[in-house]
Every structure is written in structure tokens, then in C-alpha cells.
Amino acid sequence: MLNEARAREIFEAIRRASAADETEVFLEAGRSALTRFANNVIHQNVAEEGIHVSVRALREGRTARATTNKTDPESLRRVAEQAVESARWQPKDPDLLPMPGPQSYREGSRHCPETAQYTPEARAEAVKRVVERAERSGLVAAGVFSTGSTTQALLNSRGLYASHAETKAEFSVTYLDGGSGWAKGNFTTVRELPIEELAERACQKAVANREPKEIPPGRYTVILEPAAVLDLVGFLFYDFAGTAVLDQRSCFTGQEGKKVFGENISLADDVSHPAQAGAPWDGEGIARRAVVLVEQGVLKNLVYARHTAKKMSTEPTGHGFLLPNEWGEAPMNLVFAGGDTSLEEMVRTTARGVLVTRLWYIREVDPYEKILTGMTRDGTFYVEDGKVRHAVRNFRFNQSLKAMLNQVELLGPAVRAAGEEAFEMVVPPMRVKNFHFTEATKY
């Protein structure tokens, strides 16, 4: 168990053994379990517990990191020495900053004891009901149900102490029968996880997707469900890093203060949002601020670690990664502003279009135009004259994300969405015109 007393005990053991001018220790301890099912049986069922002790030494303008999962005194001494030894071999970095002193953080817990203690028996019973739902419709179910808890602490020799405890519950299901349907949820408490609702949604998609028809590729109006939106816009997150702009590898290089998206697009990074997760401090222990990134389509702000902020003559926003690293920082808690058009209303007002459940294997084709490619998966439907007409075979798309966010016609309410390509964010469903499907598949 990693509580404050144990964290301070480990930190002091490392500090005593370290010859560094300054020492930082990041601790992470956790337990997690995951029940995996397919072909209507549980076929994998795992649990793990572990701890990471990660030490950063700063000495004479140099810094390096060493990490272990061994917490005996000898191992702690060794990891402290290793960090100093690694730092010794590098040139001095004139831009290296001293470690920050004590900081203050937003209060609030994201730890749920019920979720932390959830049992394999309870997960199995939930899976059993999901499988029974499949069998009632002649379907085959595959998916995961996982629960876990993590405690993190960051301490440094200038007196900084930060801690955070969080739990996680995730459920994902695919129903198969020729076609397939999918749904997924991810929350900080198991109470929020609507397993039966997700299962029902996936089941209905699979049934509706039994006999997909081929329609030609081309530019379509698309209605993207939140998971599809998430996995696309998730590719933008690093572009908002100050370091990415400094390195000229951001798609926003040279566009600060300019209109980059349509006026109906606004987004922020906000760790305190009720549908978000994560620690309220960054890799150096700086408090994460809420930052407006895009307001009515205009690129307003980036995020900055301390050293990036100094280089760019601004204030750190508390988004830095553990040092040393080459990436700098990134917003990890994106929140898109939503609208008030429901998915059903989007369908009802669409003359001709495609409804997309989720996207898959998305990769960046062009880093500046932000062209992404990928596939539709697990439920793609043709919409005509305000109604879902039939399932269609999957498409490959090649679409500029910048262009897409200038072509959003309608937005729905923003929700915490879970996909497979990006970490969870708060995003709305969107109706987008001229979305480019370049090829169709055989299924």
C-alpha cells in the first residue's frame, strides 16, 4: 500500500543515498484486473499488482532518470546512484531548471473503494449476463471488463509533495454474427459503467449490421458517434504542445492566434472536468491549469512545461511529462464544447449520409495537413431522407482533420467517450460534410 508515510519513507531512503544536487522521486503503485471473453466464454482472466519507483537526479546542470520496482533498501540506494551516474555522462544543459518547490493543488478524489475492491466473481457474473444477452439473439460476444486502482506520488528535495489516487472501470463488447456491433465505456468508478446499456447498444448494432451492402466510396456527409470523433481528434493532442510548435512539428506551427477550425469548434484542456480523469499535477508537480486551446475556431493557447514556458516567454500550464524527455508536454484532458443536436436529430435531418459507430487503425498520413487514414468498423450505416436505411460495407478514409473541423455542421452533447486509438476525452457526436471515403472493403 502506497500512502503518504510510505512514499516519504521511500523518498528519504533515496535522498540519503543520492549524491545529486536535487532529487525527485515519482512513485506509482497499483492493482488491476481484467476479465476477457470471446466466443461466449471467459478465455483470459488476469490480475496484477506492482510499484514503480522512478528517480530523477539533477547535478551540476545535468539530469537523468532511473527506475526500479524493487523497494528494499539496497535497491533504493542503487537506483539513486544509477540516476546520478547516468547524469554524469552528458553535457551541461544551460536551459535546465532547478526543481520546483511546494505547490498547491485542487482538492478532490477520483478513488472509489468499491471499484478498487471489485472481485473476479463480480466481473464473471456481469460477463455471464452479457453472454446470455448474446445467446438470446443468436450472437457471439467478445470483450473485456476491467477494474483497477492506482496511487501516485511525486516528491522532490525542495519539499514538493503531490499525490493522487484513482480507480478505473472499463467495459467493452463486440457482438458478432456475420456483421458486428460494438460499444465501450470507461469511467473512474464501476457504478458509472452502464454495462447492460452498452451491451444492448452493441447487440442492436450487430443485428442491424448482419447484411451490409456495398456503396461506392466518395465524399459523404457523415454522422460520427462520440467514439469515432474521439479516435480522430485524439490525433491532435500533441499538436497543442509548446514543444511541438518550437520543434516545428505541430500542425499549428505558425498559426497561433489564427482561425484554424470552424466557428462552432471550441476546446479546452481541463483535468478538473467531472467527466475527466487523471492527476491534477504534471511530471514536475506543477498544478494542471484549465487552458482554452481553441475558441470559436481560433487557436488561442498552447500548453507548456516549465522549461518550454521559459523558452517561449510564457507561464507553465502544468502539462509537462516526467523529465528528461524530448516531447515536453501535452494536454491529456481534452474537453470539446458540444451542441444540442441529438444523434437521432442528426439522422432525421440528413438527406444522404453515412452513420459511423467507430473507426479503426487510424494513422497519420501527413503531419501538417493532418491527413489521417483508417477504417470504419463494427457498424456503418447508410442514411437517406432522414432514416437509417441499411448497413454498408466498411470504408477506408483519407481525411484532413483540419479540413474536417472546418466542415462540422452539427454538434451533439459532449460525453466522456472511449475508443481504441486515443485516450478518453469529452467529445460530442458530430455531423460533418464532405468526409472522404477513398475505398470500400469486401465486408
Binding site: 499488482e49 463486440t174 505558425g254
Partner: protein
């Protein structure tokens, strides 16, 4: 390690497991990188722990811990059995494993120079030298160089009596030059993208790569790409360099032959496969010159899929996957082998670390070399494109429709390599593509590439795989769709 493993096996058996195996793993990693003349990452890490996998009441359970006391190991083994009993609440039939003889063995990756004995300053000097060479090229806006090393000390034991010790060493390095100009980002990597080349070998790999010697060329090509014409759209003959072909093999042969995908157990995440069981021995996967093996043995080379024994204690094997163009084999495990009528696993189960269960993973899935010299192949091509170094990759969840982008292409006209082209891409259907292969270069051009970051499973596991390939020619391939308007 042996004592820890035995505690876990004893407890699992006492709690009612009909089968158990234990892996104790002590992992060490070193990562170094530079960026624009400064240190990017410099870190050492180690991780020691134990994972116990059991069958109880005919169902699977697994638990892992890094608290290696008698009490904690016993708790982990008992937890694994309890989890298996929970799994048994949702089962149709008992898990059955293909037989495997008891094995006692010791195996080590052969290395000439232990990377963890090489001073860090020697490594950093090499990275800084390469970094500096890239930045000497006007227009290079970002120069990055990196190295990574892993040492795994592993002990496997099972209730069948097997005891296997393995020491595996992996090394890798590479560089990338990026150029931003006029609202366009171009980059070139060496010797490959994904951090360069990676292999089961020692520091001798890095010494042989000539990173600094290639750095300036890479920078120059990144800058020159801004002035190059765009890759055309349409159907073309293409020749893939061996690194891009390695990834093509990975995505369009390596993944679809994973038997767990075929049998549906990855359906929710990684997906399934177009290679349904009825196609084994029948499907014309490629043209008659296409021969592919999955070979984990040392004889195949020092790939990231080279080992002595897999994580179920099964010896490394060479399996025919495609023979003279026909599909003849899957990657299998002890549990899945019987589904295709095999009485023994193909030995492909590997786990990322002590806290993960083994899954079917590619070993070294390689295309056998052909007979052509590269110059002759280009001379034999009237019109076409030569594509080098992967930039983007995407394939559907059944591994049937793919699209790749590469960093650079060269136009071939009248049997000669002519102008540079930027933003190349190509796409196709897996079997149509491999059936369009009409020439493969010979062993002199064959490289066993390492793919260090293949993701699979829930919880996600990252694994290194190997892919041997020589440049090869494909006819009538759709190019340029990624940038089509």
C-alpha cells in the same frame, strides 16, 4: 528464481490447479536519445516480478506480483486459482493443451559486446555526432537520434516439470531528420522508421549501422523532398525496399496468420482474420515465388522473434506459412494447435513482461529471398516507383485491405531510377497484392528487420517481431490514394 517459481507452483497445485506455469522475469532497459544537439531521454529501468498462469476447473486464471516474498507469491498463486474458478462460471468446455515434453534448458542470445557494459558517454557521443551531422544540412529543423537496449533474465517452470532459463538481449538504434518549410513537414529516417533497426544482438549492431556516416544524406533527402513532385495517382508497378516490405509482411501476413485472431479471441480489440480455417492448404495467398516462414530459431538470424523457447516452454521452430504461393500454416499455441489438427504448438506464445500472460505473437515472419539483383530488377522495370521507408500504415480488422505511406519514392523510367517523389502511398487487398509479386531480390539484399512495437491483447502488450525481406516488385498496384482530392 527457481525457489520463487516452485513456491507459486506448489501453492497453485495445492489450491486445485490442474496445470500451472510460472515465469519469473528480471528486465533491464536503457534508453538514450538526442534532439537538436541536446539530451532527449536518458534513463535506466529495471523490473522484477513473477506471473503465475493456471487452469482450474477447466478455466484460465493469471496473477502477477512484484512482491517476491513467500507470503506474496503464495497470495498471487492462490489469486490465480480463484480467478480461474471465476472464469469457469462462463465456459463451454475445459481448456485443453497440446502435449509438450518436460524440458530442462538454458539459452542465451549470442552477443559479441554487452550493451550494458558500454559506457554511456560512448553511446551519447555517437548519438551527438549523428545529430550534429543532420543539423549541418540547411533546412533540417529537427534532428533526432536514439538507442535502446533490453536484457531479460527469465525463468520458466511448469507443473509438468519443465525448467527453462533464458537470457535475451535486444539492441536498437536509429535517427530521423525532419524538415518544416512552407507549410509542409518532410522527414527521412535511417536505417528505418520506428527508431531504426532492432535485433536480438549486442552493441555490435550499433557499431555496424554507421549512423553518423548516413546522417547527412538523411538530412539532405528530408530537405530535398520539399522540392520533389508529388507521387502520382493511379495503377503502377512498384518496388518496395526491404524495410517497407518487412512491415508489409508484418501487417498483411504476420497478423492474419495468428490463430487466436482466426478463432475469434481477439475479436473485440485487434480484430479477426480473413484466413478462416477452411482456407488452410487451399488459398493461393501469393504468386508462386512467394515463400514465407515463421522462424524463431537462431539459424534464421538475430531477429526480435528469435528465442530458445516460447513462454509456454515450447522450443523455437520454423513453420512454413506460405509455400510456393499457397497458404499452409498458422502461428499457434498449446491451446489453439488442436484446432488445426496439430498435435504440438508452433511455439509462438510470448508475454511482454512478468505481469502479462503469453499470447500468440509473430516470431520472425520472413519472405524467403528470390534471385534478382536490385540493379537488374530496376533495369527490368520500364515504368514504376521505388518506395523506401515506412511513414504510415493502416489495415482493416480482418487484415484484408491495407494502405501504406512511405517517406520517399523514386520514379523508374526506362529501367533507370530517375526523379525523387514525395508523399508516396499505395493500397490494396492482401491476396491480390501478394499474387502480383513477380520478382524478389536475392539474399545479398535480404535484411532481418526488427519491429519493436507490435501491439496486441488486453491489457495491451507491446512485442518485438522480426521480418526478413529483400526488395520485391509488385504489378498493377494502386498508388497515391492517400492524397487524392
Amino acid at each position: 528464481m527457481k525457489e520463487w517459481a516452485q513456491w507459486a507452483l506448489d501453492t497453485a497445485a495445492a489450491r486445485g490447479a490442474s496445470y500451472a506455469d510460472v515465469r519469473v522475469l528480471d528486465a533491464r532497459h536503457r534508453t538514450l536519445s538526442t534532439k537538436n544537439g541536446k539530451v532527449g531521454t536518458l534513463s535506466e529501468s529495471e523490473s522484477l516480478g513473477l506471473g503465475v498462469r493456471v487452469i482450474a476447473e477447466g478455466a484460465w486464471g493469471f496473477a502477477a506480483t512484484d512482491q517476491l516474498t513467500r507470503e506474496k507469491i503464495d497470495q498471487a498463486a492462490a489469486r490465480a486459482v480463484a480467478i480461474a474458478r471465476a472464469s469457469a462460471r462462463v465456459k463451454k468446455k475445459d481448456a485443453v493443451l497440446a502435449p509438450e515434453p518436460m524440458i530442462t534448458a538454458v539459452w542465451r542470445t549470442p552477443i559479441d559486446k554487452d550493451p550494458f557494459a558500454v559506457p554511456i558517454d560512448e553511446m551519447m557521443k555517437l548519438l551527438f555526432r549523428a545529430d550534429e551531422e543532420m543539423r549541418k544540412v540547411q533546412g533540417v529543423t529537427l534532428a533526432e537520434a536514439s538507442m535502446g537496449f533490453t536484457r531479460l533474465e527469465q525463468f520458466f517452470a511448469s507443473t509438468r516439470g519443465s525448467e527453462i532459463r533464458q537470457t535475451k538481449t535486444y539492441s536498437g538504434a536509429g535517427l530521423v531528420a525532419t524538415s518544416f518549410a512552407e507549410n509542409e513537414i518532410q522527414k527521412r529516417s535511417y536505417p528505418n522508421s520506428f527508431g531504426g533497426q532492432h535485433a536480438s544482438t549486442g552493441y555490435e549492431l550499433i557499431e555496424g549501422l554507421q549512423l553518423a556516416e548516413n546522417a547527412r544524406r538523411v538530412g539532405e533527402e528530408a530537405v530535398a523532398l520539399h522540392r520533389a513532385d508529388k507521387c502520382p495517382e493511379g495503377r503502377r508497378t512498384i518496388i518496395l525496399d526491404s524495410s517497407q516490405l518487412g512491415l508489409q509482411i508484418h501487417e498483411s501476413i504476420g497478423h492474419p496468420i495468428e490463430l487466436d485472431r482466426v478463432l475469434g479471441t481477439e475479436a473485440n480489440f485487434a480484430g479477426m482474420s480473413f484466413l478462416t480455417l477452411d482456407q488452410l492448404g487451399k488459398l493461393r495467398y501469393g504468386s508462386e515465388i512467394v515463400n514465407v516462414v515463421a522462424d524463431a530459431r537462431l539459424e534464421h538470424g538475430p531477429g526480435l522473434g528469435t528465442f530458445g523457447y516460447d513462454d509456454e516452454g515450447v522450443p523455437a521452430q520454423c513453420i512454413d506459412i506460405i509455400k510456393d504461393g499457397r497458404f499452409v500454416g498458422y502461428l499457434s499455441s498449446r491451446e489453439t494447435a488442436p484446432a488445426i489438427g496439430l498435435n504440438r504448438s508452433g511455439g509462438t506464445m510470448r508475454a511482454e513482461s512478468w505481469n502479462r500472460i503469453p499470447l500468440i505473437r509473430m516470431t520472425n515472419v520472413s519472405l524467403r529471398p528470390g534471385t534478382w539483383k536490385l540493379d537488374d530488377l530496376i533495369a527490368d522495370t520500364d515504368e514504376g516507383l521505388y518506395l523506401e521507408t515506412n511513414r504510415s500504415w493502416s489495415i482493416d480488422d480482418r487484415r484484408y485491405h491495407f494502405q501504406f505511406g512511405t517517406e520517399i519514392a523514386w520514379e523508374i523510367q526506362g529501367g533507370k531510377r530517375t526523379r525523387m517523389l514525395k508523399n508516396p502511398s499505395y493500397s490494396g487487398i492482401t491476396t491480390e497484392f501478394w499474387n502480383s509479386c513477380d520478382a524478389i531480390c536475392n539474399r545479398s539484399y535480404w535484411t532481418l528487420w526488427g519491429t519493436p512495437n507490435c501491439g496486441k491483447g488486453q491489457p495491451m502488450q507491446s512485442m518485438g517481431t522480426g521480418h526478413g525481406a529483400a526488395p520485391a516488385r509488385f504489378r498493377n498496384v494502386l498508388v497515391g490514394v492517400a492524397y487524392a482530392q
